[in-house]
Amino acid sequence: MWLQVIINGLLIGGFFASTAMGFSIVWGVMDVVNSAHGAFIMLGAYVTYGLHTMLGLDPFLSIPISMLVLFIIGFLTQKYIVNLIMKTAVSMSFVLTWGLDILLINIALVLFTANWRSVSPSYAGAHWAIGTATVSYIRAGVLIVSVLLMFGLSYFMSRTKMGKAILATAFDKDAARLVGVNIGHIYAVTLGIGSALAGAAGSLTSMIYPISPQLGVTLIAKAFVVTALGGLGDMRGVIAGGLVLGFAESLGVALLGPEYQMALDVLMLVAMLILRPQGILGKKYYG
């Protein structure tokens, strides 16, 4: 039984990390808490659902498409809406994206209705058996994709020109501007990347959970906890935070039952914020 708890913790931890990646990068680079991240995840889930239902596309294969769609949405949102308030108080971005979140969720409710839908590919129930524990194919795939995304993001940030420009902007906005970086454009690309990661997370979500427009509300809470636990400024923090949350939940469900999941999350969050606000691997600046 404990083997199953550990495996579950690992698998769900990877999933949580994937939901938090986009959220963490936007926060770390732009100091914007993207309250609409949950809505973006939800949109990614619906993209996968739509492609799967209408074209029969395998959900894993739809990930690049949902990433592209969400990149465009995020890019345009930042460029034409959020960029307008970047120079105002920091809390404005929180409120603004909150408004966007409400808007997106309710438009989705009108378009898609509140019915729960699910994406079930043909291999949905298949699993491996390891001793007394089972590992479902899909969840293992989700973990692998999460890890790939993390490595991909790290590579992008450290090796490509755009990635370095983003890091430079996070480090010192004015110096970056002095060397010719177009800050508004960089911000737009950053939110685009964050949204793309949200889209990927949404695609992954649709494979594990049933989806509805309210999907993002609980997921953004998890993303926030993961980010706060793991700390900003380092992608490995997201993985660390994700695993901590995953194991905590897995243990919590095994020992206390599922009703206390939310309370446990909140407790860990508040404890971390009080004891070590920068998180496990958090740094004072990005890089």
Partner: protein, 343 residues
């Protein structure tokens, strides 16, 4: 027209133009307020139950927005989860009335005190956190309090909620009682905030909101004052919560800890003008009236429109409508503001 009448008209015109330019004498404001109050006092006796309920709702949200403004607008700590204290007040009141037969007004006050104490106890650890983290922590508090309410069925009735006893009067009279109750709370809250912000404590709040480290270096005990601000805010949330419980006669956790109420409060306060005294009231009136008209026609779009308003207000009018109404700003200035903020 006789000389008396024409001078009355011209005095009226001067008064209006003075108001628009923010130069109005105090007397004009007082007259305005008395007229408004007279109108509101008469309203429940001439309007139907529907409008009485709508306006009661406006008073309720105006009170909440006003109280929220103290911790958020003045002191600068964006407590998005403050509805936790509304729920606390509601539940304490309900439990006292139903299980211990405490008279309703007393129960409401005790509920408010409990909510304030809860906020102050939470404040000591939580108010050390700043910025976004604090906001999210308060949302967490709201959710956690809701879970507590769910998971103590012996006291709170869990998911089944609590039903309050009904007043033995006609529906119309009952609604009027609640109407005046909420109106009273709104006036009380506004008066309290007005007096508070003119006092040294209020000055401390504003100092903390402007620049906390500067305030601390001036010798202000920021921890104490932040906790007081949150406690004050929570007290009024608790009062409203208690009356709300009595009004609806039935409460359950998702209802009183509803984050949608938090959204409305945020939208109203921003719309009216954060950090100002009339702001929350104006915001509450305008938003609730728009809300009712939109809700009537487009039920599904109701929250979407709210979201749109929040987006619109934060981008174009971060200081709310009040500067526009007062004539301190203008549409042209807003557009210019926008251009200056371009990256």
């Amino acid at each position: 027209m006789s000389a008396d009448q024409s001078s009355l008209v011209s005095r009226w015109k001067t008064a209006i133009s003075d108001l628009r330019q923010g130069r109005a004498k105090r007397r004009t404001y007082v007259i305005l307020m008395v007229v408004a109050l007279a109108f509101l006092a008469v309203l429940p006796f001439v309007a139907g139950n529907y409008w009485v309920r709508v306006v009661t709702g406006i008073f309720m949200f105006a009170t909440l927005s006003q109280a929220w403004n103290v911790i958020t607008g003045y002191t600068g700590y964006f407590a998005f989860g403050n509805v936790a204290f509304l729920g606390t007040g509601a539940y304490v009141t309900a439990v006292l009335v139903v299980r211990y037969s405490v008279p309703v007004p007393v129960a409401i006050v005790i509920g408010a005190v409990v909510a304030a104490v809860y906020a102050m106890l939470l404040g000591f650890p939580l108010l050390r956190i700043t910025g976004h983290y604090f906001s999210i922590a308060t949302i967490g508090v709201n959710l956690a309090t809701r879970e507590i309410a769910f998971n103590l069925p012996s006291i709170t009735g869990g998911g089944m909620g609590i039903t309050m006893p009904l007043m033995r009067v006609s529906i119309q009279t009952f609604y009027r009682y609640i109407y005046f109750g909420m109106l009273g709370l709104m006036l009380l809250c506004t008066a309290a905030v007005y007096l508070l912000m003119r006092s040294r404590t209020g000055f401390a709040f504003r100092a903390i909101g402007a620049d906390e480290s500067a305030a601390r270096s001036m010798g202000i005990n920021t921890t104490l004052y932040k906790v007081l601000a949150w406690g004050f805010s929570a007290f009024f949330f608790g009062l409203v919560g208690g009356l709300y419980a009595y009004w609806f006669s039935f409460i359950e956790p998702p209802m009183v800890f509803n984050p949608a109420n938090a959204i409305k409060i945020v939208a109203m306060t921003y719309l009216g003008g954060i950090g100002t005294l009339p702001g929350p009231i104006i915001g509450a009136f305008i938003l609730e009236i728009i809300s009712e008209t939109v809700w009537g026609r487009f039920l599904e779009l109701h929250l979407a429109v709210l979201g749109l308003i929040i987006v619109f207000v934060t981008v174009f009018m971060p200081n709310g409508l009040l500067p526009l109404i007062r004539g301190e700003s203008s549409l042209r200035a807003l557009v210019q503001n926008l251009r200056e903020r371009r990256l």
